[in-house]
């Protein structure tokens, strides 16, 4: 149909081919998952293979269309916009729309090919490997779901969609690791994998939040465009309100940084560290690698697909995708390289002492991932990614080979641990020729035999580690003058790694290469060479009467010898993928064979996507000429490793290893027990959270619940008992209380009630003030407002008329004495406004009231008078507020 026919069907900006790539595995997962039981094994495997195969075809088509469009400078990119997922408020609360959109470009196209291609081979392999398992349909459902999630991860157009794939892949690995969930250990391993990945995802979430704040976009192009405003400094210490003031000085001294702006770091470094935490969680790097070895509890195809080829490389993919961000912070790049290096060495050292094939391969995966991250850390994103591809081929081939060997061992030994133990194998090369050859090819590739894919990718990384340098970015921060101490603090400079970091990485990585070659060939020689140690082979052996020969193996797991048939080569579905992968393991190097063939196919293919990042990655001078001299040590490392292994395990039949173990037993045990890293985590982090949990439950029960619930109930009960004693039940006691109350009330009546009412007649200005009558009341007045009472003796005059001029204020007082000689004084402020009720008069009235009050007020109750006067003013004006004034002012004009 031709390329332009394809373009007409799938236009670049509405690239529905992506729906086909994603839809097929999802459909397969759904069909197998829901109807799998009823469809039967053949239909299930057919569905799964068609789904992944179809997806592989579609990604090939997409790949070719990409090649059509890709030019030197402009990266080809096909996008499919789904629907608006949600919108996020960024800095300053403006809305950033996030949509479900998928895009494919050079990087994700290549990765999609790997995922679907290797995935297809592994699906084919599993149809045979999982044949007798009763959870057959469930396995293929999960596998297809995994392929779908991985594709979502790769093809996602923005970080949240990638995150869907990211956690989807984590969930699928949780389900697949715990596939045989009837074993407690498998379920625990699954949970461990999920939780560790989740810790990584925490990093990703924080990174997304930071990006939203600083860059204001989450899709790839938005991030790349706004990457350089990540160069703003962020204060990371002291947090929140800073070091508390009440701390004594000798503690506060060291804690408070001398730069008043606090310890500051560029946002790029923060984002870089957060992203790298996510990648470390997913790609099993140093802090969070513990879950990968335990993940071997899952079926071997799972280990091959997920824990070798695809999922674990997601971290590297993310780093390449976000290269523009990583490059902005040399500190992050240096940490990535160092962590990668440390992981590589640690894992390689552990692999030395492991006897389980899958454990050795697991640790070798961790180690190889370390190398990829070294590549990323030194700025060689393309080379690191190329190592991902070659690693996918030979590591998948190794795992499938191991699976084939284990499958053969199952003929007689069914106990999971013993069927994977190298000590029960040996001499398999004469029984399983194809597996042997492909396994050898992959071992040579991973060890770095010149001209094999491993050589070209790993040694290229070493070369780039030695020669590449990263430009230090310019942090956007100015001088700052501290007003209090008038000290000017310099602008912040980005951290630059030491000069010889590259050289140190190169040499240690070389040591790692030697170790890799050694343990890989240790594995190869112990499994395929020497004589078979599994069981004594009896020609023409036939299964005993017990029929299912499986369980007889358990009776005599004691040491007397077990006899059984000759281990036979696995079926076609297993050997075909092995051969394909073996061939690829050898010849894939051609894509990027700088050393001898100067072919830069892969670099040029990925270059446009990584253009912005690689622009700030330079080379030390004379790097071109150093290519050959730097390769020789690599070849030497391969020779030493393989030779050493050959000498120890073939010529000396393994005595040196045995003698080493006797000589230094404690070292062997520590290395065998994985440097006891799991136990370290158990004690420190997990233990801490555990005790926090116990404390929380204790606090919840004895502090929160106790205080809120029990203390209040106790208080209510206690007050209840106190009040209960009051109820004696005898009537006259109640009577006595009543009478006492009456007495108190009586007292109130004894004191005289001086209640004053004012009748104001505004136009005549006559204000008549009457005091209310009472039993035996007598009154004394102060009419002239001078503050003193006019006469000393009491009379019966209960009413007083006061004549006020315009806007005049007067304070009238009355003292009341009752029959028992008790007295009380009452004052009333009288005010006659300028004109009745005019609105501007309002303000004027209030104003005058204020001045008048100030002048009139002498006695200590001045404030009270002001309120009274104002109230008086207020009362007089129409529309005054409904204030239930105790002194009803009648006759308002």
């Amino acid at each position: 149909m031709g390329m332009d026919g394809l373009f007409s069907i799938f236009p670049p900006e509405d690239f529905t081919l992506l729906c086909v790539i994603l839809g097929l595995p999802l459909l397969g997962a759904f069909v197998n998952g829901v109807f799998g039981k009823r469809l039967g094994k053949e239909a299930v495997s057919l569905m799964a293979l068609v789904a992944v195969g179809g997806s592989f075809m579609a990604s090939c088509a997409a790949f070719f269309m990409l090649m059509q469009r890709q030019t030197e400078t402009e990266a080809a990119r096909f996008v499919w916009h789904g629907w608006k997922w949600l919108d996020i408020s960024g800095n300053g609360d403006f809305q950033i729309p996030i949509e479900i959109a998928f895009s494919v470009d050079a990087l994700s196209g290549g990765m999609a090919l790997i995922v679907t291609g290797v995935g297809f081979l592994i699906h084919l392999y599993s149809t045979e490997y999982m044949a007798e398992d009763d959870g057959f349909h469930r396995f293929f459902a999960y596998l297809n779901l995994f392929i779908f999630s991985m594709l979502v991860l790769i093809l996602g157009d923005n970080l949240p969609v990638l995150f869907i794939g990211w956690e989807g892949v984590g969930m699928c690995s949780y389900l697949l690791i715990g596939f045989w969930f009837t074993e407690e250990a498998n379920a625990v391993a699954g949970k461990k994998a999920f939780v560790t990945n989740r810790i990584g995802d925490f990093g990703l979430l924080v990174a997304m939040a930071l990006l939203v704040w600083h860059v204001g976009a989450l899709d790839w192009q938005g991030i790349e465009a706004g990457a350089n405003n990540l160069l703003t400094p962020i204060k990371i210490y002291p947090l929140g309100n800073g070091v508390p003031a009440w701390l004594p000085d000798f503690i506060r001294g060291p804690l408070t940084p001398e730069d008043p702006r606090g310890v500051r770091v560029t946002a790029a470094t923060l984002v870089g560290f957060a992203l790298f935490l996510g990648c470390a969680g997913k790609s099993a790097q140093l802090p969070l690698y513990v879950w990968l070895p335990d993940a071997m509890a899952g079926p071997t195809p799972v280990s091959a697909l997920i824990h070798a080829a695809t999922m674990v490389t997601a971290g590297v993919y993310l780093c390449c995708r976000m290269a523009a961000v990583f490059v902005l912070s040399p500190a992050t790049m240096a940490t990535i390289a160092i962590v990668g290096l440390a992981t590589a060495l640690l894992a390689a050292s552990i692999a030395f002492a492991q006897n389980d094939i899958k454990k050795v391969l697991a640790y070798s995966t961790v180690s190889q991932l370390g190398y990829m991250f070294i590549g990323i850390g030194v700025g060689a994103f393309a080379t690191g990614f190329f190592h991902v591809i070659t690693h996918a081929f030979f590591k998948a081939c190794l795992f499938l080979g191991a699976g084939s060997v284990i499958h053969a061992m199952h003929a007689r030994i069914h106990d999971v641990d013993r069927s994977q133990d190298m000590r029960n194998m040996g001499g398999m090369r004469n029984f399983m020729p194809i597996t042997h050859l492909t396994f050898l090819a992959s071992c040579l590739a991973i060890a770095g035999l010149p001209l094999t894919s491993g050589f070209f990718s790993k040694d290229e990384i070493l070369f780039k580690a030695y020669t590449s340098t990263i430009a230090t970015p310019q942090v956007s921060d100015g001088e700052w003058i501290d007003r209090s101490t008038q000290v000017t603090w310099p602008a912040m400079q980005a951290w630059t790694p030491p000069e010889d970091l590259g050289r140190w990485i190169y040499t240690l990585a070389l040591l790692g290469a030697v170790m890799t070659a050694f343990y890989m060939f240790r594995l190869y020689f112990r499994v395929f060479w020497g004589e078979f140690r599994g069981w004594t082979i009896v020609r023409g052996w036939v299964a005993p009467a017990g029929g299912h020969h499986g369980h007889d193996d358990h009776e005599h797991d004691s040491d007397e010898p077990l006899d059984g048939p000759k281990p036979h080569e696995s079926a076609l579905q297993i050997t075909v993928p092995l051969v394909v992968l073996g061939v690829l393991a050898i010849f894939a190097g051609g894509l990027n064979a700088h050393a001898f063939f100067h072919s830069h196919l892969f670099d040029d293919w990925v270059a446009p996507v990584l253009a912005t990042a690689s622009s700030s990655v330079g080379e030390i001078e004379g790097a071109k000429e150093m290519m050959m001299p730097l390769l020789l040590p690599g070849i030497g490392a391969f020779a030493i490793g393989v030779g050493g292994a050959y000498w120890v395990y073939v010529m000396q039949r393994g005595e040196p290893a045995a003698s080493f173990v006797e000589k230094v037993p404690w070292l062997h045990r520590i290395v065998y027990e994985k440097w006891r890293v799991d136990e370290l985590y158990e004690e420190t982090f997990i233990g801490a959270v555990d005790t926090l949990g116990d404390m929380a439950v204790w606090v919840d029960q004895y502090v929160v619940d106790a205080v809120v619930a029990r203390v209040t109930s106790f208080a209510v009960a206690a007050s209840g008992t106190i009040l209960r004693t009051m109820q004696t039940g005898r009537v006259h006691a109640y009577g006595a209380v009543m009478v006492a109350g009456l007495g108190a009330l009586g007292w109130f009546f004894i004191a005289p009630q001086a209640v004053v009412t004012v009748l104001a007649d505004d136009d005549s200005g006559v204000y008549s003030v009457t005091a209310s009558p009472g039993l035996g009341y007598q009154y004394r007045w102060d009419e002239d407002g001078d503050g003193e009472l006019d006469s000393d003796d009491f009379g019966d005059k209960a009413r007083v008329d006061v004549q006020l001029g315009r806007s005049e204020v007067r304070l009238v007082q009355v003292e009341v004495k009752n029959a028992l000689g008790f007295r009380s004084i009452e004052q009333i402020g009288l005010f006659r406004p300028q004109r009745d009720g005019a609105s501007d008069g309002l303000a004027g009235a209030a104003q005058e009231a204020k001045e008048a009050a100030d002048s009139a007020a002498k006695s200590q109750k001045a404030l009270q008078d002001i309120q009274r006067v104002l109230q008086q003013a207020g009362g007089n004006l129409p529309g005054a507020g409904k204030q239930p004034a105790p002194k009803p002012v009648g006759g308002a004009p």
């Binding site: 949240p160 995150f163 949970k191 919840d700 929160v704 809120v708 619930a709």
Partner: protein
């Protein structure tokens, strides 16, 4: 729409009365049934006659939008309540009929509530209906929904039928009272979500409390009485404080505006002096924090959940907790913006530390599954409150979405826990092991719901949490603490995975430890029917959250600007005294949020009303303020 349906609406009460009357006599012939039916009809006719029909019809300012049927909300809210009354008349000896009636009413209510989706949620209140209820006290029956309460109503109408379906399966004794309690609870909750009059809100707030206490107290577990008391006392303590605050605000509004009203619109237009505003905020916040529940006041939730029956537990988790958070959005943020803003940072700290992390840690250590899920609710609600305190658009929208997600996910979790409780009558995790082998479908559903509860992207849990975390990170209300609190909240995501997966692993994976688990039947039709819609919603909301989020835009924007304006007017308020934000908001344009703003009663005999109907100028108000200094 009005002609024909109006006729039906008219005839509805009579038909209902006839039907109820006919059902009353037991084992009697047709004659008595028809007789009593007619008596019922006559009784209703008599009551309708008495009802003040035409007289105050014009008093109802039922001015609403053209395309929206004003009575819709009344039907939705009062159908369950009337149904509950009808259930009382139905014969107690016929549980099957009772269950059928209840499910019928709940299903009808759900279908009607779908009508709410017809209107597109532009700015302003929708389906608004206002009539005078107690004019002397200025109390109006004012009901309306906006983007926020729409989804709460729908969440309630979805989960209650499911809870009813499940509880009918497991509860056999006292069916009549169960049906009554369920329907009354449903009506109370719906009323609380839609009422815009503080008094009406308080009535519904208390109304829904009683049936919940009955649900826990009658059909609960071993110490059901203690748990019911604890639940009642906690909520009552809170709501009584709220009542005090409501009364104070009404009094203050009367001082400032001259007329008495309980209406939400008037209250949110009121600016209180600083200390009074803070005290009111604390009172309201206390009532809602108890309900949410937030950290120090959450101890009633695990007890209530452990003792509540499955159906009660589902409703309690799915809808009752949401009232606390809905209340906070509507009243603490929408009405009392100022003080809420000042305390946002500290409260957010409590929400993160006490809610998310504390809840997760406690959940991890629980031995009883229901207690574990209860503590997980505390953690989820911690996320919701964090989103609200952040007060950014995506923070609040994320919080509202998390409320819906939590309702679905935790509702489903309680349903599933109910499934095994019905089979094994125990909730201890140690009693179960290796269930996946025995009950594969159940295990699959449980894992899916766990993924939703943890917040795996693709399910609805993630969307809410993601928006809350980012919303908190960029929040200006939280100042420089926002970023730290967001990072701590993200830790909560890890802990969630830890405790949920550890319980899944203990119950489902590993060998079958307990002999009695060997032949447990898998989920039956009723249970799958009940959980299916929830699982579907998990994925629909997970992938298409903008269905829900877009409708919230205008109301969230309104809440945020009310929240910020509360702050500014509060800060700028130097005179620190009582006044109206804007003296006379125009209430006639249906698209504005001040539509149907309470107008002072026009009756002239109340002299204080017309004397002070004109707003006060600041000078005189100054006088009132100083002399009447409130709560110095």
């Amino acid at each position: 729409m009005t002609g024909f349906s109006g006729g039906i609406i008219e005839a509805l009460p009579y038909l209902f009365a006839f039907f109820v009357g006919a059902m009353i006599p037991r084992r009697q012939g047709w004659a008595e049934r028809v007789g009593i039916g007619v008596v019922g009809v006559l009784a209703v006719a008599f009551v309708m006659g008495l009802w003040p029909e035409a007289a105050d019809a014009e008093a109802t300012q039922a001015v609403t939008r053209a395309d929206e049927w004003p009575q819709l909300l009344n039907v939705i809210v009062f159908l369950p309540i009337v149904g509950a009354v009808a259930i009382l008349f139905a014969p107690r000896q016929n549980p099957k009929l009772l269950r059928a009636m209840t499910m019928g009413i709940l299903a009808a209510d759900f279908l009607i509530s779908l009508g709410l989706l017809r209107a597109n949620m532009t700015t302003g209140w929708h389906f608004q209906y206002v009539t005078e209820w107690l004019p002397t006290f200025g109390i109006r029956y004012h009901v309306a929904i906006d983007g926020i309460s729409l989804w709460m109503v729908l969440l309630s109408t979805v989960t209650t039928p499911i809870a009813a379906l499940v509880s009918f399966g497991s509860i056999k004794k006292r069916t009549k009272d169960l049906c009554f309690a369920m329907l009354l609870l449903h009506g109370g909750m719906l009323g609380a979500f839609v009422s815009l009059d503080l008094f009406l809100f308080y009535v519904f707030w208390e109304l829904m409390l009683i049936p919940m206490v009955i649900l826990i107290g009658v059909w609960g577990g071993v110490e059901k009485i203690k748990a019911a008391y604890k639940f009642l006392l906690f909520t009552m303590a809170g709501s009584v404080l709220m009542l005090a605050a409501i009364l104070y605000m009404v009094w203050a509004h009367r001082q400032a505006a001259g007329f008495v009203t309980f209406d939400y619109l008037a209250m949110s237009n009121l600016v209180l002096p600083r200390t009074a505003a803070t005290l009111c905020f604390i009172a309201f916040a206390f009532a809602f924090v108890v309900k949410v529940p937030m950290w120090p006041l959450h101890t009633w939730l695990p007890d209530a959940h452990v003792q509540a029956p499955t159906g009660g537990s589902i409703i309690l988790a799915a809808v009752l907790l949401k009232l606390g958070t809905y209340g906070y959005v509507r009243f603490c943020m929408g009405m009392l913006g100022g003080p809420a803003y000042d305390r946002a940072a500290t409260l957010a700290g409590v929400a993160v530390g006490g809610g998310i992390l504390y809840g997760a840690l406690c959940a991890w250590k629980q031995t009883d599954v229901k207690r574990l899920v209860a503590y997980s609710s505390v953690a989820h609600m911690g996320f919701v409150m964090l989103g609200l305190f952040a007060a950014t658009t995506s923070g609040i929208k994320g919080a509202l979405l998390t409320m819906i997600n939590h309702g679905i996910a935790t509702g489903a979790l309680f349903l599933l826990v109910g499934v095994i409780y019905d089979r094994r009558h125990t909730r201890l995790v140690s009693e179960f092991g290796g269930l996946a082998k025995v009950m594969p479908v159940y295990a699959a559903v449980f894992v899916i719901v766990t993924m939703a509860s943890i917040g795996v992207p693709g399910t609805n849990g993630f969307v809410g949490e993601f928006m809350v975390i980012v919303g908190t990170f960029v929040s200006s209300a939280l100042g420089r603490h926002g970023s730290i609190q967001a990072v701590l909240a993200t830790f909560g995501v890890i802990l969630a995975a830890v405790y949920m997966l550890s319980v899944v692993q203990k119950m489902f994976f590993g060998p079958i430890t307990n002999k009695r688990n060997e032949n447990l039947p898998d989920m039956n039709v009723r249970e799958t029917l009940a959980v299916a819609p929830l699982v579907a919603l998990i994925f629909v909301l997970g992938l298409f959250p903008s269905l829900v989020l877009d409708t919230m835009d205008s109301s969230v924007a309104h809440v945020i600007d009310k929240y910020n304006s509360g702050r500014d007017s509060h800060r700028g308020n130097t005179i620190d005294e009582l006044r109206l934000l804007n003296p006379s908001p125009k209430g006639d344009d249906p698209t504005s949020y001040d539509h149907n703003y309470p107008v002072p009663p026009k009756s002239d005999d109340d002299e204080s009303a017309n004397a002070a109907s004109r707003p006060l100028s600041t000078a005189v108000a100054l006088g009132q303020g100083v002399s009447r200094g409130v709560a110095r």
